[in-house]
Symmetry: D2
Subunit: 257 residues, 4 copies
């Protein structure tokens, strides 16, 4: 059986008169869309438009819940209690799921956003709160979390399917963790280099760490950043190189997770 | 077959550290709860708590979508486009429905709140936008609207079940419309008078207008205000008088609408 | 004495991660900046940055208070009470004035935004509420209002200086009122036509109505839209044609109002 | 010269239809009011009302800036950058100062709220950002910070006057720090015990730690909590006991800081 991988991308981050991202172009290049739910970004009209766009492209529709902090775009850590995290996740997932159903599709996955994603990767209480919120939504969705992190563990504990996420455009440390954005070389800007790493991760299950050695990295989905300069070029290069390497790119809902 | 009526009440209007209303006491006196959805009032924790409280009491769980105006508590008219109304209703209904499902209940009804309710009663475009938003939520819910208003008409057009609402503690004009709150005598404060009118409406299908004549008024549900002084006393008096008159008080979901 | 006019433009409408407008380029072309105050747009960082940018260019710093409706960008009418309008104006003006002082400048003017501007032009209660809010800020500022509207009247009543505003890129009716945006030909897109009208208004005190006749139009400031395609080209054309016509373009604070 | 102390209390925390606190009663018992500025609590109408109430009572008017998190009442830590802290403080102080001026009073002090207060007490970068924001407001105000904390240090560095704050109803550790609220006995509920400690702190400059020894504690102002049960009783007991002990209670603006 050939190798398969999903490409996911954050979408629907516009708000009212404010436009962000390039959803139209990227929707044709990825297979799963993480759609903002009105807390850190997005609004009901944007959610509606983005869900329909994803449905037209056969892209898996996912909820992308974040901290209720529009001014900070969900990128600032906030000390919510686990109960607050759980219920804000249920709220956001429930809202997005209604748009997905209305578009004749189902909600396929949930991926926490920004600071919530980062906290979920290292704080088991936050991860479990997210998992409870998702589980309570009562739709059979996949939780996307950082490969090797406690988010994966917490989602499995809660009986949810999980997709382990990797990054073709981020450097990894020798222990398999992501290199901090505060350090030099944390982000890879060259499309071909990113594409090559995508192949390495997807086909071979390894990634070359910034220290030079190859470390194992099992992932089900690769994140394609939509808001970086050259996002389209990186996405195109990844698609081309994966195709050349015989790796099939399929939506999350089509993976056996 | 005996007469039946529902008693509905706005609930779950607290927000964060802010507490409003007397949900604990009122939940035992009414049969349907209109629960704020986080736009004009309410937050995920409050929604969760209120939905569970309603479920424990066997009270019909309803979404109470309003304008996204917490500072104005949804009581200030806002000129949203029909498309904005439709999608904000779908958003709010979707979120509340997720909490209802998670509590092992279904969403039974939707009642627009405040300024949105008032606009829906007289503006067919707003009413139709609400109906579309509810219909798209894809759950078989009842729309609660002012008896005789275009909201009822628009919901029926959209193929939705409707519940016609009346007010035991509000004066009516000779044409069957509600007396404006700006006019004297618009609100009835005496519990026994309100309760007597509740019986008149529920059992006899008429109400005595402020001009003295009896006018026909067909309603399926009576609104019990939760935020007025004496709310508990009025609710208790209505329950007692309806029981004495042989009118059965049942949740919206148990009415043949 | 030669003719003088001010050119004003809305600025500082970005919010958090959301970028709108072209403030850097436009700041060199206009003489007064209406800076969003965090209600319909803008945030403290954006206000700080925009105020400093205006100060560096010698552009008059103005507060641009709007309805507290970020999702609607202040363009949706909201039924606030006069007391609410008055106090939200004072709040927003007070906040912006602090940034202006901190940048070593003073607050020169206040121009209501969007739906608030439109309501202020035709509803004397709203106009007076705005004037009271501005007057209470206790800084000697100029109120910018639609020429010929009740906003001008209300500000004068309150003892405030006023600047009458006209639009070079909008069609006028024969009675001197703005042609509704719902009607064809309401907006002028050609830079040279707009520039020609700017000269006609600034130098001659008249404008050719859409019915063909010249109607008198006394204005102190012309609005330059920053968010339309071709905004920069229109602004440049206006500057050039006004210079050729011998009309001096000066900041609001330098006009004898 | 006799001993003097200020009693400060958080005020103006209502929002729209939501009412919190007992400002009317407490305003007659304290000498300085920390008034919410619309970010974590408060709105323009509430600010106006509270500022006027303080002015009528001769109570020092202070700004009480907090994190922009109404849902969390400013009690949840948020990772803002120093630049964001500085500018949100300037924004909130500027807005409140406008209401103070409009009421014929000046802004006397600034006290950070909730999670921002706690971060300012232990994180010098946050403390300095707050101090810069206050200094830029350009009004000669006093910064209120936890006695012995880096907030005091940062405000002094910035050339601002400071008031060191103590708590009569909180237990202290042997090193003079506040006992964590997570530990037993952290909060003192008995009015007479609190009042006795107020005298001990204000007159003698010491406090009995929970370990039994007396530790020095130099404070200029004592915090009176407004939102605890028995707040009024505690405030009255403190006033009475301070009067009996010959300690004069005066507004912050009347202290030689």
């Amino acid at each position: 059986m050939g190798k398969k991988i999903d490409l996911n991308c954050d979408m629907g981050e516009s708000f009212g008169a404010y436009h962000i991202g390039n959803d139209e172009a990227l929707m044709g290049l990825v297979t799963s869309a993480n759609i903002a739910c009105g807390a850190h970004a997005g609004d009901p009209l944007v959610m509606d438009r983005t869900v329909r766009l994803a449905a037209r492209h056969g892209v898996s529709i996912g909820a992308h819940p974040g901290f209720p902090d529009l001014a900070g775009f969900g990128r600032r850590a906030m000390q919510l209690t686990p109960e607050e995290v759980e219920n804000t996740v249920l709220y956001q997932v429930g809202a997005l799921a209604a748009f997905a159903r209305s578009a004749g599709s189902g909600l396929a996955h949930v991926k926490p956003h920004g600071a919530l994603y980062n906290m979920a990767a290292r704080d088991i209480d936050v991860a479990r709160a997210i998992a409870r919120g998702v589980a309570r939504a009562g739709v059979d969705v996949i939780v996307v979390g950082l490969a090797g992190s406690v988010m994966i563990e917490a989602a499995r504990e809660a009986g949810l399917r999980v997709a382990r996420e990797g990054f073709a455009d981020r450097a990894y440390e020798a222990d398999g963790s992501l290199r901090s954005r505060k350090l030099e070389g944390a982000v890879i800007h060259d499309p071909e280099t990113a594409a090559e790493r995508a192949v390495q991760i997807a086909r071979d299950g390894v990634v070359t760490a910034c220290t030079g050695e190859e470390v194992p990295l099992q992932v089900d989905t690769l994140c394609v950043h939509g808001d970086t300069p050259g996002a389209i070029e990186i996405a195109k290069a990844i698609r081309r190189r994966l195709a050349e390497a015989g790796v099939e790119v399929v939506p999350l809902r089509c993976l056996a997770l």
